[in-house]
C-alpha cells in the first residue's frame, strides 16, 4: 500500500453503512439463497449457517459460521457479504476479517462469548454493526467502534413488536435530547451510561453519528415500511424471507416496500399474493430473549 492511502478509517467504515441506506440486508444460508437475495434487489447478504428461527428451535450454542460456507456465498454474489461473530469473541471477528467479509455483525443471535466486554471494534479494518435496544446501548457500541447500529428487535420470531419498541426508544430519546438544555445533557449521559461527547453530538445533529437500521422480526413488506416510517434507515430481514412459503417474490416485495415506504398505494401493490409469511411467535411464547444479550 502507498503511504498516502488510508484504509479502515472511521469515514471508510461508516461510509459503507451509508451506502446500504434504503436497502434490505437478507440472511442467507446457502449460495443459492444468496443469489435469490441478490436477484430480488438485496443491498447486502448476511451469511450464516442457520437463520435465527432455526437457532431458536435447535437451542445449543450458536457460533460463527464455517469459513467455507461464508466463502461460497462471497463467490456467489457481487453485493457486500456480512457475517456474524459472537458478542465479545474477537477471535471469530479476526477470522471473519481475514476472510474479507464486508461487515461483521457482533450479534446477540449467537451465544455470547463474554458477559462483560464487547469486541474492541476500533482495532479492526472491517466495519462492525451491533444491535441495540436503547440509545445508551447504541452509544456504547459506537464508542467501541461500531459503524452501524441496528435496533435488535427479537430475531427469529417474525414478530415486529420488539423492533418497534427498540426503534421508538432510540429515536424518542434522540428527539428528547434535541430539546434538552446544556445542563441536562450531563444527566442524559449519566442516565444512558453513554460518553458525554456522543450525547452532545446527538444534541447538535439530531441523529446518531452512524446509520440506524432495523432488525429482528420483519416478515412482511408492511413491517419493513413501518420500520422505515418510524425512522430506520434500512432493514435487516432474517428468517422472514427464507422461512416464508415463496421467498423470491417476498424478498423483492420487501425491497420495493423499503424504498417506497411512505407510499401506501405501492405498498398495497407489492403486498399482494405473496403466499404465507413465516408463522411467527408471540412474545409470551419466547423463552429466551436474544435482545437481553449485550451490555
Amino acid at each position: 500500500m502507498n503511504s498516502d492511502v488510508t484504509t479502515g478509517s472511521t469515514p471508510i467504515k461508516r461510509g459503507l453503512a451509508e451506502m446500504l441506506r434504503g436497502g434490505v440486508i437478507m440472511d442467507v444460508v446457502t449460495p443459492d439463497q444468496a443469489r435469490v437475495a441478490e436477484d430480488a434487489g438485496a443491498c447486502a447478504v448476511m451469511a450464516l449457517e442457520r437463520v435465527p428461527a432455526d437457532i431458536r428451535r435447535d437451542g445449543g450454542v450458536a457460533r460463527m459460521s464455517d469459513p467455507e460456507m461464508i466463502e461460497g456465498i462471497q463467490e456467489a454474489v457481487t453485493i457486500p457479504v456480512m457475517a456474524k461473530a459472537r458478542i465479545g469473541h474477537f477471535v471469530e471477528a479476526q477470522i471473519l476479517q481475514s476472510l474479507g467479509v464486508d461487515f461483521i455483525d457482533e450479534s446477540e443471535v449467537l451465544t455470547p462469548a463474554d458477559e462483560a466486554h464487547h469486541i474492541d471494534k476500533l482495532a479492526f479494518t472491517t466495519p462492525f454493526v451491533c444491535g441495540a435496544t436503547n440509545l445508551g446501548e447504541a452509544l456504547r457500541r459506537i464508542s467501541e467502534g461500531a459503524a452501524m447500529i441496528r435496533s435488535k428487535g427479537e430475531a427469529g420470531t417474525g414478530n415486529i413488536v420488539e423492533a418497534v419498541r427498540h426503534l421508538r426508544s432510540i429515536l424518542g430519546d434522540i428527539r428528547r435530547i434535541g430539546q434538552a438544555d446544556p445542563a441536562e445533557i450531563y444527566d442524559w449521559a449519566k442516565q444512558l451510561q453513554a460518553p458525554l461527547p456522543l450525547v452532545r453530538e446527538i444534541a447538535e445533529t439530531g441523529r446518531l453519528p452512524v446509520p440506524l437500521f432495523c432488525a429482528g422480526g420483519i416478515a412482511t413488506p408492511a413491517d419493513a415500511a413501518l420500520a422505515m416510517q418510524l425512522g430506520a434507515e434500512a432493514v435487516f430481514v432474517g428468517s422472514g424471507i427464507f422461512k416464508s412459503d415463496d421467498p423470491a417474490p417476498r424478498a423483492r416485495a420487501i425491497v420495493e416496500a423499503t424504498t417506497h415506504f411512505s407510499d401506501p398505494s405501492i405498498l398495497a401493490k407489492v403486498s399482494r399474493s405473496l403466499g404465507a409469511p413465516m408463522t411467527g411467535i408471540g412474545m409470551d411464547a419466547v423463552t429466551e430473549r436474544y435482545a437481553d444479550r449485550g451490555w
Binding site: 434487489g41 443491498c43 447486502a44
Partner: protein, 208 residues
C-alpha cells in the same frame, strides 16, 4: 461562474444508497434538492444525481418504479447528471464484472469494473489530483475502476494516474464519494453544468 440560477432544483435518485448525503451536500451549497422515487418526481428538476449504493439494487428498482425510461430519455437529451460510485457504473457504456442482466444509461463512453479495488477491507481514502490543479479528498468504498476512456471523455480527476472523475457532454462520473467528504468541488461541477445548460436553453429560445 458557479452560481446556479436560484430557481434550479436538483433531483437525487432515492431508490437506495447515499441519497440523503447528496441532499445534505446540495443544501450546504444553497441548492434545492429533491428525492426522486417516482417518474412524477422528475418534473421541474434541472439536474440529477445518481448516488452510491448497490448498482444491482438500483437497477432492479429503476425498472419496478418506472424511472428507467424517463431518466434514459432525459440523459440522452443532454440533461446534466452526476453519478457517484454505483451512479458512475449506471452512467457508463460498458460494465465489467457486472451481472449479465445489468444495464446502464450509456451516456459516458467509459468501461467500468465493479469492486475492482477489492472488498471493503481494501476501501480507502486517497487524494484525487485535479487536471486543473490542486487536489481534493477522495473516499473510495468498494469503488468501481474506470478501465477504458473514450476519445470524447474529459478526465477531470485522477488518482495515481488513473481517471476517477470524468465528464462527457453534460454527464459527470465520479468513482469516489464527494457527498461523504464535505468537499464541494464535484457538486459545484454539476451546478456549473446546470447553469451552462440553462443558459444554452435561454440563448436558443432568444434566437427563435
Amino acid at each position: 461562474m458557479g452560481a446556479a440560477l436560484p430557481q434550479s432544483t436538483v433531483g437525487v435518485l432515492a431508490l437506495q444508497g447515499a441519497f440523503s448525503n447528496h441532499l445534505s451536500a446540495l443544501s450546504t451549497l444553497g441548492v434545492a434538492g429533491r428525492a426522486v422515487r417516482r417518474p412524477v418526481d422528475l418534473e421541474g428538476i434541472q439536474g440529477l444525481i445518481l448516488p452510491g449504493g448497490e448498482s444491482t439494487t438500483m437497477s432492479m428498482l429503476l425498472d419496478s418504479s418506472g424511472l428507467r425510461e424517463p431518466i434514459a430519455d432525459l440523459l440522452h437529451g443532454g440533461f446534466p447528471v452526476l453519478g457517484t460510485c454505483a451512479g458512475l457504473i449506471l452512467l457508463s457504456k460498458r460494465i465489467h464484472d457486472g451481472r449479465a442482466d445489468q444495464r446502464g444509461f450509456d451516456v459516458l463512453d467509459i468501461a467500468t469494473a465493479r469492486n475492482a479495488y477489492g472488498r471493503q477491507n481494501e476501501s480507502f481514502e486517497s487524494a484525487v489530483e485535479l487536471s486543473g490543479g490542486g487536489s481534493i479528498p477522495g473516499i473510495f468504498i468498494r469503488a468501481p475502476r474506470v478501465m477504458e476512456v473514450g476519445p470524447n471523455v474529459e478526465i477531470i480527476g485522477t488518482r495515481h494516474g488513473e481517471p476517477v472523475l470524468v465528464r462527457e457532454r453534460s454527464a459527470i462520473g465520479c468513482a469516489f464519494h464527494p457527498e461523504l467528504s464535505g468537499d464541494p468541488t464535484v457538486h459545484r461541477l454539476l451546478i456549473d453544468q446546470i447553469g451552462r445548460s440553462l443558459t444554452a436553453v435561454a440563448d436558443a429560445s432568444q434566437e427563435d
